[in-house]
């Protein structure tokens, strides 16, 4: 698997220098959000707003009012938890073209509760006028910059940073679900880092004779319920969602709502954080601990099909382990 180092850094710089109305805003997490090089090379297009997110959100609303398209860079949690009211009044309500670049989605950080955006999809998708995107690989990180900036209104993006695998060879297109496998037994729906886990599981499930239909989402709002339903109709046993987020309010909830509204009777298993905060730890550890990894998906498939696959950890592809201390990350967070 090809690994790409700091794909966001290059993608943002390539895009922003071509678009002078794009501004790069930072709240003291400049190198952590891979925009330190941009700051150094393009200081006229960079604004430091300090550790003051409430002001940054409303200030960005003012910049939007002046015809600029600010990209706000911070850890995802800091873009909506503390400045939620400012997000509503200054950005979402007036539909400012503000691009919220949220790093460290879900459990992709050992930073623990204060740094883990585990309810951001749930929060952001309920906000009127908001678009919600999530990058699942290096190609999507590279293409999410232009995609987000094409939206006539505010956008929240879950961004991956550091060393990011390349899974796809076509850019992220807003609203276009990626069909990664067209099996007939179970439908598996993933996004972000869980897609890589599902790919690991799929190979073993194929060998065990389970036919998996696998969809990868990069557009969480607007949510393409019709396409999801179309695929759910094609499988025998039911649907499994696997998300780097709480199952409540996130992808699991969105799929449940789609199935219910369509009157389509399919069993649904929702994998992800089950009404719990996470603690700090490595990504593979946390994905195993909270039942969000490839083996958890295999066990869910067994529950859904009533069939034991005999798959154990050894039968799965090796877990990709990132170094906690890496030259492509500013800190171990």
């Amino acid at each position: 698997m090809e690994m790409v180092n700091r794909p966001y850094a290059k993608a943002f710089e390539d895009y922003a220098v071509q678009h002078p109305e794009v501004l790069c805003l930072s709240a003291d997490l400049t190198s952590s959000c891979e925009i330190d090089g941009f700051r150094d090379r393009h200081p006229d297009q960079f604004l430091s707003l300090g550790m003051a997110e409430q002001n940054m959100l409303s200030f960005a609303g003012g910049l939007g009012l002046a015809g600029f398209r600010p990209f706000l860079h911070s850890f995802g949690v800091f873009l909506y938890r503390r400045p939620y009211d400012q997000l509503m009044a200054s950005i979402a309500y007036p539909r400012r073209q503000v691009r919220l670049m949220g790093f460290l989605p879900g459990i992709t950080t050992p930073g623990g509760m204060t740094h883990q955006a585990i309810e951001d999809i749930s929060v952001m998708r309920t906000i009127p006028n908001m678009t919600v995107l999530e990058a699942g690989d290096a190609t999507e990180v590279e293409s999410i910059v232009a995609a987000a900036d094409s939206v006539d209104g505010p956008v929240y993006c879950r961004i991956l940073r550091g060393a990011v695998p390349r899974l796809f060879d076509t850019p992220l297109e807003i609203g276009k679900i990626r069909v990664l496998a067209e099996g007939t037994d179970v439908l598996v729906i993933t996004a972000g880092i869980t897609t890589e886990e599902a790919i690991r599981a799929r190979a073993a499930l194929d060998r065990a004779g389970v036919s998996v239909r696998h969809l990868h989402l990069n557009t969480l709002k607007p949510f393409d319920a019709a396409t999801i339903i179309g695929h759910a109709e094609q499988v025998k046993h039911g649907v499994i969602t696997l998300e780097n987020h709480l199952v409540t309010g996130g992808i699991g909830s969105m799929v449940a709502e789609a199935l219910a509204e369509a009157g389509l009777s399919r069993r649904l298993i929702r994998l992800g954080l089950q009404d719990t905060y996470a603690h700090g730890g490595s990504r593979p550890y946390l994905m195993r601990y909270y039942g969000m990894d490839a083996l958890s998906l295999v066990r869910a498939v067994e529950r859904l099909t009533g069939q034991q696959t005999g798959i154990d950890e050894d039968a799965l592809g090796a877990v990709r382990v990132e170094a906690v201390h890496s030259v492509v990350k500013a800190e171990a967070l």
């Binding site: 200030f59 009012l65 009044a89 539909r95 006539d152």
Partner: protein, 309 residues
């Protein structure tokens, strides 16, 4: 655009109009009219460089909230004139001053008197807490503390574009209890946003009563200076002083004008209610009659005919 009337006359008109409205409707933001009349009259009548209103004199009904599908949506900023490079922009951060602001729009000829009859009526854009679509409003400021940040962002953007128009934020002193206000001043000072100025009504009142009894804020002038602003302090009811304050040089820094006001100025009878002045509603018909006669006398007008109300 200069109004043909004196600013003193406009201020008096604001007090009379808010008084009459509050009498008829059994309550209103009377105290805010007392403290803010000269300040809003000063802004609209002489301090701000505003073009003529682009909106109808009688406000259109509520036209829906912003959405991709709502092509009829518009803010109330058109009452302050067109968006162009040379004219100033105004945010009224304490959105509950809307009644006073609407009265001011009428007094300076930007809104018809009938507009005030639509105040807080269902389906009207003349909302009680000034919304983004309400006359004279450009952004939502219903929660306190966000106005100065938005103003700073707009001012930075206008400066970057080479526009000469300034951004003015009308503020209330209660907003200094919000942390965001200090974040905003800090950012405006750090980035040298000197096309931004704020006029703050320092009436030392807030919803729960006198500020010192609710949350002591100390010496806000010193605090603003320490956060990087140029500060001028004046008597809010002294127009000459307001003019001098606005002229304070503040190159490279935002200007904050602290206008120390009386929450009962021009309606001293209201002192009977002190310190519960945030929203004046009459406790009895007798109190209403008594207030009607006493305050009308202070304003030099006839009592409001309450028949039928």
């Amino acid at each position: 655009m200069q109004n043909s009337r004196t600013t003193e006359d406009v201020a008096h008109g604001i007090r009379c109009r808010v008084f009459e409205h509050s009498m008829r409707n059994n309550g209103g933001y009377l105290s805010q009219a007392c403290s803010a009349a000269e300040q809003l009259a000063f802004l609209y009548n002489e301090a701000l460089n505003l073009g003529p209103s682009t909106m109808p004199l009688v406000p259109p009904p509520f036209g829906g909230v912003p959405s991709a599908a709502n092509h009829d949506y518009r803010t109330g900023a058109g009452y302050n004139g067109p968006f162009d490079a040379v004219h100033d922009r105004l945010f009224i951060a304490p959105a509950h001053y809307a009644l006073v602001a609407y009265a001011c729009l009428i007094e300076v000829g930007r809104m018809a008197p009938e507009g005030l009859e639509m105040f807080n009526q269902d389906g009207s854009s003349v909302e009680m807490i000034g919304a983004e679509h309400s006359p004279g409003m450009e952004v939502h400021n219903g929660t306190l503390g966000i106005g100065l940040s938005t103003g700073a962002g707009l001012a930075w953007g206008r400066k970057r574009r080479g526009e000469t128009g300034e951004v003015c934020v009308y503020m209330s002193d209660g907003e200094v209890q919000e942390g965001q206000t200090w974040e905003a001043v800090q950012a405006a000072a750090h980035h040298g946003i000197d096309n931004l100025w704020a006029l703050m009504d320092v009436n030392r009142q807030q919803c729960d009563g006198a500020m010192d009894s609710v949350m002591t804020v100390g010496d806000i002038a010193t605090k603003f200076r320490n956060f990087g602003a140029v500060v001028a302090e004046v008597d809010a009811h002294d127009l000459t002083a307001l003019r001098q304050a606005k002229a304070t040089p503040h190159e490279g820094q935002p200007l904050i004008v602290l206008a120390h006001s009386s929450p009962t100025k021009g309606m001293e009878f209201l002192m009977k209610r002190f310190p519960r002045l945030h929203y004046v509603r009459f406790k009895s018909d007798e109190e209403r009659r008594e207030m009607n006669i006493a305050i009308a006398a202070e304003l030099g007008i006839a009592p409001v005919d309450l028949g039928g109300h």
